[in-house]
Amino acid sequence: MKKLRLYYEEYNKRPYQLLWRHFITQHFALFGLVILSILLLLAVLSPFVSPHDPYLQNSEILLLQPSWQGTGLVAYPFGTDDLGRDLMSRLMLGTSYSFGLAILAVSGAMLIGLALGILAGMTRGIQSSIFNHLLDLALTIPSLLLAIVIVAVLGPGLLNTIWAILLALLPQFIHGVGNAIQQQLKQDYVVAYRLDGANNWQILWSVVLPNLWEPLSLLFTMALSTAILDIAALGFLGLGAQAPTPEWGSMVADALDSIYLAPWTVALPGLLIFITVLSVNLVGDGLRNAMKKRREN
């Protein structure tokens, strides 16, 4: 077809492009995205790029200061912990646990939540009502408390923590997906499609699902920040990752013993948790704003 513009024609960019355009105008959000990308890379590559063995104890260099302080060595940029393990390598490996596993847990929760949410959203009647009430119950209990309960049943451990957080995040996703679907079903274009003779599954497949990615991505960022904080909190309480796993939360708890002598062993893992969560939230906020602007235009 020729590109001949006879009439004025509204030129629509693809929604993703539009969203991206709005997104990159927000510098903080972009910054968050960059950090998240780096962290994601680290989470995958940390075993290969860490300068030292994160588990190797070296009694010659216990509690070595970071390299920018007095006795620090350049080979150990963030210093060492109280067992002489390289803090930088441990923090890098910790990315896989604290950030990588959080992403896995949230993805798992999202997939299962999507399936159950579709069921909840597409059905009506007494079953759905009971289901929703149970969901409300689960929603009122904070995810961390729910995770603590699940850990109490399963016993402490990193893997159990992941299961616990996955389960604890589920209600959020089911609820979110269910609501989004209900909203979609009320839209005029759905009604029109239905009048065309489409059945439930056709509506779901070709209309509802493509429109779900937006609320889903928002849900994902929110759940991700919760998951990171929860994994860290459980690790800190000693219910999650066990020694010597360098999960950030448990690293903070382990380093508490040397808080006076080596405050950086407490500060750095905590700082990383904070930066990670902040980046996730920045990206989440950025997405939300971008979506809002796109809808407004």
Partner: protein
């Protein structure tokens, strides 16, 4: 004014356990705070051996017939003013101090001073089955371990202020036994009151003694509150209120010291000793102590039933590394269960070299060329002998990985931990022992004898006839040289058998606020605050 408060209190239906008593303590937040590392197990020293409990109760609440001079180790008169030993060494007579008063508390008002009857009541409890309180305790760990019932024939009150102990055999260590913190004198009158009230267990829960402080309140895992005993027979400090604040966490104890929430804290983290000794507002005190930290293998469970395996594991551990990382150099490497300052210490003990290659060979010999998986139980609390078992476990875990042994670190809450240990559920455990007296028997018997394997304090569950013969032989003779040779043989045998791997002997430290003076630590016993004072 205090009186009117009191009446107001009783009128206003405000009831509390201790009710209303004439307020002797103006409670305006004055007093001394001692931050302890754990809760006491009982309020009667007869029933315990743990150093934590002794520190928290014995010197504050009770007196003994004799005291030990903390520096010279000489015996000093305490509740007994004079004593006399018969020429055959079988009869000991003590003349008691007059006008020694017991504590007046909400639950007991003494009507008389200390008499010989109280001393008889106290020591007969562990001797005579027909004593009303004999059955209220399941065991008397210290007195059982020194075989009190075999040593003492009878205890009688000759008059109201004279008491006589008759022994079965001459025993040169008898006076030292009476001077330990376990030999606290109880009140017979209080005992009679409890019998009448049918509240016998309270004897060990709501204590009455003659010590410088009297019991006021105990909240489990939170605090113990003592008031000053105003009618104490000795000159003593003017601390009106002594609070034992129970802070199990090392870091928190230190923080409390820094924020002045604690005046005295035992078992400081060795890493921070330097910082405290550099500060003028704190004072670090040091005392040699007899203790040992060890790694015990549950010899009832494979693969620890094989001597080669135990030897191999011991060889694989880098002890100097542990001393550096866990004790920050403030401990001696242990080559035997007995510390070097014990008279029976075997100097020829081989320093166990760190030799992973040989360890690996031994494992192959034992039929484990590919290693195996074990659990290391690390105690969740800090004790004198081991300030950080978790960290020690991590170090051992890494050392074991090098010889192909996979180790998992296990920990439970302390009470659960001890219960499971007693039941022998562990593979191997990092724990230790603090001595109650200088006798080598006090290390070897409770830790490694067959009897201890039954009672549960033998963490290696190790029962060996040869070894039992050594230690029984040693106590049956009074000749020191002969005893020594028995103990040397026992130590040599232990080094071959390796039911447990001794790791370190730690010094005892405590940090206090510089405004506190007059604190004394006994090498074998608890801390004493009799003369403690605080400058504002």
């Amino acid at each position: 004014m205090n009186f009117s408060y009191c009446r107001f209190g009783s009128l206003s239906l405000v009831l509390w356990l201790t009710g209303c008593q004439p307020a002797t303590v103006a409670n305006s937040g004055q007093g001394l705070v001692y931050c302890a590392e754990g809760s006491p197990e009982s309020f009667n020293p007869q029933l315990v051996t743990s150093g934590t409990t002794i520190d928290a109760i014995s010197q504050h609440l009770y007196d003994r017939l004799l005291d030990i001079d903390a520096n010279s180790g000489d015996l000093l008169p305490a509740l007994a003013q004079q004593w006399h030993i018969s020429p055959d060494g079988l009869t000991y007579r003590f003349k008691l101090r007059p006008n020694v008063s017991f504590h007046q508390t909400d639950y007991f008002t003494p009507s008389r001073y200390l008499t010989a009857e109280d001393v008889v009541f106290t020591f007969n409890r562990m001797l005579q089955v027909e004593h009303p309180f004999f059955q209220t305790a399941t065991e008397y760990p210290y007195f059982d371990s020194i075989e009190w019932r075999h040593r003492v024939k009878s205890i009688t009150a000759l008059s109201s202020d004279e008491v006589e102990f008759k022994l079965n055999q001459p025993d040169s260590s008898f006076l030292s036994v009476l001077a330990t913190d376990f030999a606290a004198i109880l009140s017979a009158e209080y005992g009679a009151q409890l019998v009448a009230q049918q509240q016998k267990p309270l004897l060990d829960i709501q204590p009455v003694g003659t010590g410088p402080f009297k019991f006021r309140q105990y909240q489990k895992d939170v605090l113990i509150r003592y008031y000053r005993h105003d009618n104490y027979w000795r000159q003593h400090g003017d601390i009106q209120q002594l609070v034992i604040d129970i802070v199990p966490d090392n870091t928190k104890r230190l923080a409390k010291l820094l924020t002045r929430e604690c005046d005295i804290a035992p078992i400081p983290r060795l890493a921070e000793l330097q910082m405290f000794s550099n500060r003028p507002d704190f004072k670090v005190e040091q005392q040699t102590s007899m203790n040992v930290a060890f790694w015990a293998f549950n010899t009832q469970k494979p693969p620890f039933d094989r001597v080669e395996v135990r030897q191999a594991l011991a060889l694989a551990i880098n002890k100097p590394n542990i001393l550096q990382a866990v004790y920050f150099g403030q401990a001696e490497e242990a080559t035997s269960v007995l510390p070097p300052n014990s008279w029976a210490y075997r100097k020829q003990n081989l320093v166990q070299s760190f030799d992973p290659v040989k360890a690996k060979e031994l494992l192959t010999q034992a039929g484990y060329p590919d290693g195996f998986s074990i659990d290391i139980w690390a105690m969740p609390v800090q004790r004198l002998y081991n300030p950080n078992a978790q960290k020690m476990a991590e170090l051992i875990q890494a050392d074991l990985r090098a010889i192909g042994v996979k180790a998992r670190i296990v920990s439970y809450e302390w009470n659960t931990f001890r219960r499971k240990l007693r039941q022998g559920e562990h593979d191997s455990v990092l724990i230790g022992w603090s001595a109650d007296n200088a006798d080598p028997d006090n290390f070897l018997r409770p830790l490694l004898s067959c009897a201890a394997a039954v009672s549960g304090s033998n963490r290696a569950n190790w029962c060996d006839e040869q070894f039992d013969q050594f230690i029984s032989g040693a106590v049956q003779t009074t000749d020191v040289a002969q005893r020594r040779s028995y103990y040397l043989a026992a130590q040599q045998y232990l080094q071959q058998q390796m039911p447990l791997m001794p790791i370190a002997h730690s010094k005892r430290f405590q940090v206090k606020n510089s405004s506190v003076q007059g604190v004394t630590i006994n090498p074998y016993g608890g801390i004493s605050l009799v003369n403690a004072g605080k400058t504002p």
